[in-house]
Amino acid sequence: MSAPTLVDFDDVVDRYDPMLGLEVHVELSTNTKMFCGCPTEFGAEPNTQVCPTCLGLPGSLPVVNRTAVESAIRIGLALNCDIAPWGRFARKNYFYPDMPKNFQTSQYDEPIAVNGHLDVTLEDGTVVRVEIERAHMEEDTGKSLHVGGATGRIHGAEYSLLDYNRAGVPLIEIVTKMIPDTGARAPEVARAYVTALRDLIRSLGVSDVRMDQGSMRCDVNLSLSPRGSGILGTRSETKNVNSLRSVERAVRYEMSRHAGVLDAGDKVVQETRHFQEDTASTRSGRIKETSEDYRYFPEPDLVPIAPSAEWVEELRGTLPELPWERRARIQREWGLSDAELRDLVNAEALDLVAATVDAGAPSGDARSWWVSYLSQQANTRGVVLDALPITPAQLARVIELVTSGELNNKLARQVVDGVLEGEGEPDEVVAKRGLAVVSDDGALIAAVDEALAAQPDVAEKIRGGKVAAAGAIVGAVMKATKGQADAKRVRELIIERCGA
């Protein structure tokens, strides 16, 4: 297949309006599967978390997991949705060995939550309201391993191997309405929405929402219409978008590709595409079946779910402080400006700073460490901030050592480096590297006297009352003590020795 023609992004948004839709699948972190009591542990030996129900063996019957329904309702409430008072599961029929039953149990036209919204804050503070069409319950599929062929991918494979441990794990699919009028910011809006949704679901404690482990997965729907025409274009659905950055890149790529197709006078094919992480492009999957081809019908083995108003209100009462409420509280408590708060959020540092504060550190110090020094270290290592091998508690200890005067800032950075290098707890790094501040006045006075003697003109100025000149002497003493002196104490001693 020939490579698609890509139109320059700026040119695309000059001439086309993007229509964006996002479908996010979230794997719930329940103890057991949606319809049976099998465990849901990640990484178990293949086919050891399966039973007659999730293997679709004859005579087995599914029973709905109450906690999964509660999680679905809580997600719906947090997304400002209406909770359906009555609804059924349906069978989505298809032939593919990732579901041993030959159908997936899902909700079709009676989703448990409908008509919500999520307000999403972009990096510059602009708020975009994303309308939620529905959130429904379904079950995850098994994992396929394609064997043979050159690439290990499905094409050219000789046979496939199936592990059904994941088959039947509860999934919530959250579908947005079409998000209009995002223009050039469509990629950014997509990313910000998935980020906000992730933070929201994490705060509910119903999923670990790890995109890298597949417990949160995103499909990007995109179409273009000629600028201002209001004519809906044909959409593509891009799957396999497994990081926040990929969400943004997938939208950008599809916009450029659609424009190339439309500019050539061709029709966009309605199809599933797969995002390629390495090239930030998408490749064609299958031509999408119409929903009629799935021959949905009500699941005869399950009775309807009818959440009472009392139950829904009880669950509403269990909602924790939601991310936007928490951000507002933290901003107030720490006295942050809008811009300062945004920097924290954009650096993905808010939770880390809050945990460091909880471990006893002042918010200003905690903020400055995470946003500057540790962010730099994360960048250098090419990892996200919370993947750095230092815990908020460890950082809080380093900050405590600085506050008590046992470390100065320079030494503190060396202690943090030691922790990042795996040398142990902060106190162990201090001991092993011999990093404690020189607090023996005797040793410091000797160094101060030596430095004053070496720069008599400066010493004269200080004696004459120009205390500001002491900086040069402090510098010399710090150099002489290899940075292991408390600069504040050195300054005091200089002034004392000069009688100023």
């Binding site: 329940t30 103890n31 057991t32 049976c36 009591g37 099998c38 465990p39 030996e45 293949p46 086919n47 050891t48 978390q49 399966v50 039973c51 293997l55 063996l57 029973v63 709905v64 997991n65 109450r66 906690t67 999964a68 059924r88 349906a90 029929n93 298809y94 032939f95 593919y96 060995p97 041993p100 079709y108 036209d109 009676e110 599929t141 396929s144 391993l145 394609h146 064997v147 499905i154 094409h155 494979a157 046979y159 496939s160 191997l161 199936l162 592990d163 059904y164 999957g285 299958r286 009629e292 021959r295 949905y296 019908f297 009500p298 005869p300 009775v303 309807p304 779910i305 009818a306 959440p307």
Partner: protein, 107 residues
């Protein structure tokens, strides 16, 4: 739930039978297409008679037993062992079910 029956008002066509057979991965011969179209027509006609008595004020029956909200607690039950799970499989490899080549039908 939107009805899944073919468009009402016309006899089921051979093409529709062929389409359904493909979705169900059934090999149906040319002769059988005609036979099944006729048989399916009879079945659909019989089911359609229900519509003649179902008035607007009668809600569709979703289940033969009038039950709602049957749940189980989120508590683990013993799973099968890997050996038990694979014991009925025609082929297995490395603890997994082995299935023939899948022809470009990714879900």
């Amino acid at each position: 739930m939107s009805p899944d029956s073919p468009s009402s008002g016309g006899a089921i066509t051979r093409d529709e039978v062929a389409h359904l057979a493909r979705l169900a991965r059934l090999a149906v011969t040319d002769d059988e297409l005609g036979v099944f179209a006729g048989q399916l027509d009879v079945i659909l006609g019989a089911v359609a008679r229900v519509g003649e008595v179902a008035a607007d004020d009668i809600p569709p029956t979703s289940h033969s037993v009038p039950l709602e909200n049957v749940f189980r607690p989120d508590e683990r039950r013993p799973s099968l062992t890997q050996e038990q799970a694979l014991s009925g499989a025609p082929a297995a490899e490395g603890g997994r079910f082995r299935v023939p080549q899948i022809l470009g039908e990714e879900q």
